[in-house]
């Protein structure tokens, strides 16, 4: 647990992302992004792309490989598909974040829960719309496995994996400094079928400080 020294009053950008909505925004090299869990236990599904070349994007496997560890926290370098650091986590009052669980989709909801859950709003639909609004060339192929900030997916030494109750709480946050110009795409997760949002999706706030 590392707390930030940055003052929210000095942020150059603040916006609340309502439950279930998407947000896309450029973070310049040297700027710091904070994602704030306003009401607690809210998964913020997050992707990053190089602003200059969106084929260079966040890589869950490369990030895991680089640190030989599963969970993300202060000090973790968020690695790109080209092997470059996109951002580095500089503060974290939640403790750990997931990058194995991916995003929910309407299609995977039918597999995970029931065929009649297909109608429910899901992160991949938000990612698709947010990505298109940033860059018209982007489509489903550009969406690799994401980060789930504030989400708890424990793995046991014998290889079991579960979606557990959140370890986040109201006011907890994670902060990261950009190592290159990146575009951040967030789906504020609308999932109602598991405890990743405490069964009640709520807003998150994003803040940006200049370098």
């Amino acid at each position: 647990m590392i707390e930030s020294t940055l003052n929210p009053e000095a942020a150059v950008f603040r916006e609340t992302i309502p439950a279930g909505d998407w947000w896309v925004h450029e973070i310049k090299k040297g700027q710091t992004l904070r994602i704030l869990d306003l009401e607690g236990n809210q998964a913020a599904d997050t992707l990053f792309f190089s602003a200059a070349d969106p084929t260079e994007r966040y890589s869950a496997d490369r990030t895991i490989q680089e640190q030989a560890a599963l969970y993300l926290t202060t000090g973790t370098k968020l690695m790109s598909t080209e092997g470059n650091p996109l951002l580095t986590i500089t503060a974290d009052t939640c403790g750990r974040h997931d990058t194995l669980g991916g995003a929910c989709s309407r299609e995977s909801n039918t597999m995970r829960y029931a065929h009649d859950k297909e109608c429910m709003h899901a992160c991949r639909d938000s990612f698709i719309r947010g990505a298109q609004e940033w860059n018209v060339e982007l489509n489903k192929r550009d969406l690799g496995p994401n980060i789930n900030f504030f989400m708890n997916v424990p793995v046991t030494p014998d290889g079991q994996l579960s979606f557990a109750d959140g370890i986040s709480a109201p006011g907890r946050y994670v902060e990261m400094i950009a190592d290159m110009d990146v575009v951040c795409l967030i789906s504020n997760c609308p999932q109602l079928n598991n405890p990743c949002n405490g069964w009640n999706p709520t807003p998150v706030e994003v803040l940006i400080w200049s370098a």
């Binding site: 496997d61 560890a69 599963l70 750990r96 194995l100 299609e107 496995p145």
Partner: protein, 240 residues
């Protein structure tokens, strides 16, 4: 009676291969020397934006690794393949693949100019080369399977590569549940601490076979797998 394979070949160490294998057929891979790693990616052969999805495979089956009788899920709520036979018991899918910089840093210089075809290839280049032959590229490179390799996590998430997970003669067999583009290479696992670069050969065979019935062990092991298979059935009914 041992069935005759439709196709048989030896994959060279640090080599690569790709093919479309139709629904019902089996792909059997045999680790000839022990300690091999096969990096694998799978795509729906007809709709190549549909691809192997590590997160859905793991969370759909509540597992961190793969073994028989578990399934390999796509990002569209369907099954690409099932593990029908497996003498290994643990296959990694979270650690990705090596790239040129990692191979150079770990094993030192061993380039084509010096070593000719005994040079040190890397997983990323092998994947990108084979993907390009089917019209795919960097956008399509996602977390892969590392067949024959075992990586465990402690309670804090720290990872450890388990050496000698796969023994000489160990086998894994996949049954395809949809017509599938298979992309694979035999480069070493990225977290293998062995300082020696190995060219380990792997035997590859493809056998004829039929799609499963709904009491198949791969479909009954988890209700999620049965629902995914029902999505496959709908896809095949509408398409063919």
């Amino acid at each position: 009676m041992i069935p005759t394979p439709l196709h048989s070949r030896t994959l060279h160490g640090a080599g690569m291969w790709s093919a479309v294998i139709s629904r019902g057929k089996r792909l059997r891979l045999t680790d000839i020397s022990g300690g091999s790693n096969v990096g694998m990616l799978l795509y729906n052969a007809l709709e190549r934006s549909e691809r192997y999805n590590m997160p859905d495979t793991l969370k759909g089956q509540h597992i961190f690794y793969l073994r028989a009788p578990y399934c390999l899920h796509s990002d569209m709520g369907r099954l690409l393949a099932s593990i029908t036979h497996d003498t290994v018991g643990w296959h990694d899918t979270v650690c990705g693949h090596s790239d040129a910089a990692r191979v150079l840093a770990k094993y030192g210089e061993n380039d084509y100019q010096t070593a000719r075809n005994d040079w040190n290839r890397n997983g990323r280049d092998c994947f990108l080369i084979e993907l390009a032959k089917w019209g795919l590229g960097k956008k399509d490179l996602v977390p892969n399977l590392n067949l024959f390799s075992k990586v465990v996590s402690d309670d804090g998430g720290q990872l450890t590569f388990i050496s000698e997970n796969s023994k000489p003669g160990d086998v894994i067999e996949l049954r395809f549940e949809i017509d599938t583009l298979v992309i694979l290479n035999t480069c070493q696992h990225p977290l293998d601490p062995d300082p020696v670069y190995h060219h380990r050969h792997v035997k590859l065979e493809v056998f004829a076979g039929d799609p499963p019935t709904e009491n198949d062990p791969s479909l009954t092991v988890r209700p999620e797998n049965l629902r995914a298979w029902e999505n496959n059935e709908t896809y095949h009914t509408l398409r063919f």
